[in-house]
């Protein structure tokens, strides 16, 4: 219980920090998107509480705006992956036969593959060839979410399938069937609620995974493109400045670390509560 509460508190604090970004900007009176070459690698001061990056942009504000991007992408990707994974997992368990076989072999195949090299390849695709505008922050985020979901549904689907299989074999499901409950209602009312706990655990872990993967892709220059800040692309800039401003590398990584610890604690807490 304490783990769950601690994890939720951490995540709530992060969400709060992300939501106050515009007010912090007003209060500090600096623009985190516009270069200010006089303030390159500025030391922490009243104007720049955490200092400034290689273009003189305020690190604290970029961290706060980056939280919106990183948490937003993480949540969106994990929710989409959880919905898709639950649907496919339940479908596989309910249908059985070749549907089950095809879906699970597909999941095995995706799990066996090294994800990141493939993601790097996918992330380098040109959205313009699909008729989408290039360089738009929303399109960037959507692209990353889609790429993360392609790999993210697998873990949820396996858990959902295993859970649904055991639920479908329970006496109350057989009793409901015998009473003439339609299959759709059976799945919706009697199977899905029983999957809530395992899917919640998988979803919390998926949020952590998505935040981490987004930061890696952005770090490699394939995710969210500057000037939009994300924790990952802030670190890419910071690595080039390990001599000039070693502290600039500290904060974004710490933010990622706290977000992931929060998700892991929530997942752990929910799992223990279920036992």
């Amino acid at each position: 219980m304490t783990r769950l509460r601690l994890g939720l508190t951490l995540l709530a604090l992060m969400a709060l920090a992300a939501s106050v970004a515009p007010w912090a900007q007003q209060w500090l009176g600096t623009d985190p998107f516009a270069p200010d070459l006089f303030a390159r690698y500025a030391e922490p001061s009243a104007e720049h509480p955490l200092g400034a990056d290689e273009l003189g942009r305020d690190l604290l504000l970029r961290l706060l705006y980056g939280a919106r991007v990183s948490l937003g992408v993480g949540l969106a990707a994990a929710l989409a992956a959880s919905v898709l994974g639950t649907a496919l997992g339940v479908l596989a368990a309910w249908k059985g036969g070749w549907v089950d076989a095809v879906l699970m072999r597909l999941a095995d195949g995706l799990l066996a593959l090294p994800a990141l090299p493939i993601l790097v390849l996918l992330a380098a695709m040109d959205p313009a060839k699909l008729g989408l505008p290039r360089g738009d922050a929303m399109v960037d985020m959507l692209r990353i979410v889609v790429i993360l979901v392609v790999f993210g549904w697998v873990g949820v689907a396996r858990l959902a399938r295993a859970g649904a299989l055991s639920l479908l074999a329970t006496d109350y499901v057989r009793a409901a069937r015998a009473l003439g409950v339609t299959e759709a209602r059976l799945l919706w009312r009697h199977v899905l609620p029983g999957l809530a706990a395992p899917v919640a655990v998988a979803c919390a872990l998926a949020v952590a995974g998505a935040i981490l993967t987004e930061s890696v892709l952005s770090f490699l220059g394939l995710g969210i493109q500057p000037p939009t800040p994300s924790w990952g692309n802030m670190l890419a800039n910071a690595q080039e400045a390990v001599f000039a401003a070693p502290l600039a590398a500290l904060w974004p990584g710490l933010a990622i670390l706290i977000a992931i610890v929060g998700c892991a604690l929530v997942a752990d807490g929910v799992a223990r509560r279920g036992q």
């Binding site: 090294p114 040109d126 060839k129 670190l235």
Partner: protein, 314 residues
């Protein structure tokens, strides 16, 4: 051994099929990447006329539909023609082979270190319940630290501030490779360690409460012998499963770590190839990485059956 043969017969075609599907998917993904060779030639030589460009596209077959180009390329692969890397101006295999060896050395040392540290931590948690929360916290931290961030921090501490180790790159001829290996290995191993610690702790404490341990203890076996001789071999089975499941994430970790440390290897090669529009190299690097990963998984599965023959009977 019949079980192992069965496994091979079932898995090898599956691996081949996965590679075919992956190469097909990657081929189409690459078709959507910016810039084909002719548009690059266009940038470097402004005197090319549209008619020249049409001619060049036709000459290199770039005017054909994607699927026909794929079939031609795949046919070449099956005949052993791997083609050239445009980025390195060398045959692809001559670029891939040293990179593969370098990555295997990196990942192999990292797994060894991660498993050793992880099992030690897990054993500590299983044997000294009071240390368990501490081990738990370390595992949570290790799992949550982004590898590329850890790499940067290690560079700042050990290369920039202390100057003990090189910040990255590869050894020159005659230089020892070891100092260049330390930081990347630690970076990968730290993240991997978490899962080993958790699983080792769970498996060992489950094993230690089983009757054969009690009976061995009653016959006067020392605690050390109990752990190493009686508990650990059984507890090793889930650890091997973990190794099998983690082969993919190890390669992913190698990509990030090699990029951070500018260390030549498969991951960095793939990244550079994608960034440099070297399609042929990127595709073959991806397929090779996938093949090695799947073979490693298969190997771990075989080792698991060798340790626990009951697994083959199911």
């Amino acid at each position: 051994m019949a079980g192992a043969l069965n496994l091979l017969l079932w898995r090898l075609p599956q691996i081949a099929l996965t590679l075919v599907l992956l190469s097909l998917a990657a081929w189409f993904a690459i078709g959507l990447m910016p810039g084909d060779p002719v548009s690059l030639a266009m940038i470097s030589d402004p005197r090319l006329t549209p008619a020249d460009i049409e001619r060049l596209r036709a000459l290199h077959g770039l005017d054909q539909p994607l699927i026909e180009r794929y079939l031609a390329w795949a046919g070449g692969l099956l005949r052993g023609e791997f083609g050239y890397s445009r980025l390195f101006a060398q045959p692809v295999w001559r670029v891939l082979w040293p990179a593969l060896l370098s990555t295997l050395a990196l990942v192999g040392s990292a797994v060894l270190l991660a498993a050793t540290l992880g099992v030690a931590l897990g054993a500590l948690a299983a044997l000294r319940p009071r240390a368990a929360p501490l081990v738990d916290a370390v595992a949570l931290l290790a799992q949550a630290v982004p590898a590329f961030w850890l790499g940067i921090l290690l560079i700042i501490l050990f290369a920039v501030n202390l100057g003990w180790l090189p910040a990255g790159g590869a050894p020159d001829a005659g230089q020892s490779a070891l100092p260049f290996l330390v930081l990347p290995v630690v970076t990968i191993a730290f993240g991997q360690m978490a899962a080993y610690a958790r699983h080792a702790a769970a498996a060992l404490s489950a094993e230690l409460s089983r009757p054969h341990i009690t009976s061995a203890r009653a016959r006067g076996a020392g605690e050390r012998r109990l752990i190493w001789r009686h508990a650990l071999p059984n507890a090793a089975v889930p650890l091997l499963t973990l190794l099998a499941l983690d082969a993919g994430s190890l390669v992913s970790g190698a990509l990030v770590t090699e990029t951070v440390f500018a260390r030549p290897g498969m991951g960095k090669l793939l990244y550079d190839a994608v960034m440099g529009n070297d399609y042929n190299l990127a595709l073959l690097a991806l397929l090779l990485v996938a093949l090695v990963t799947m073979l490693a998984t298969l190997l771990a599965d075989l080792a698991q059956r060798w340790i626990d023959p009951r697994l083959g009977e199911r």
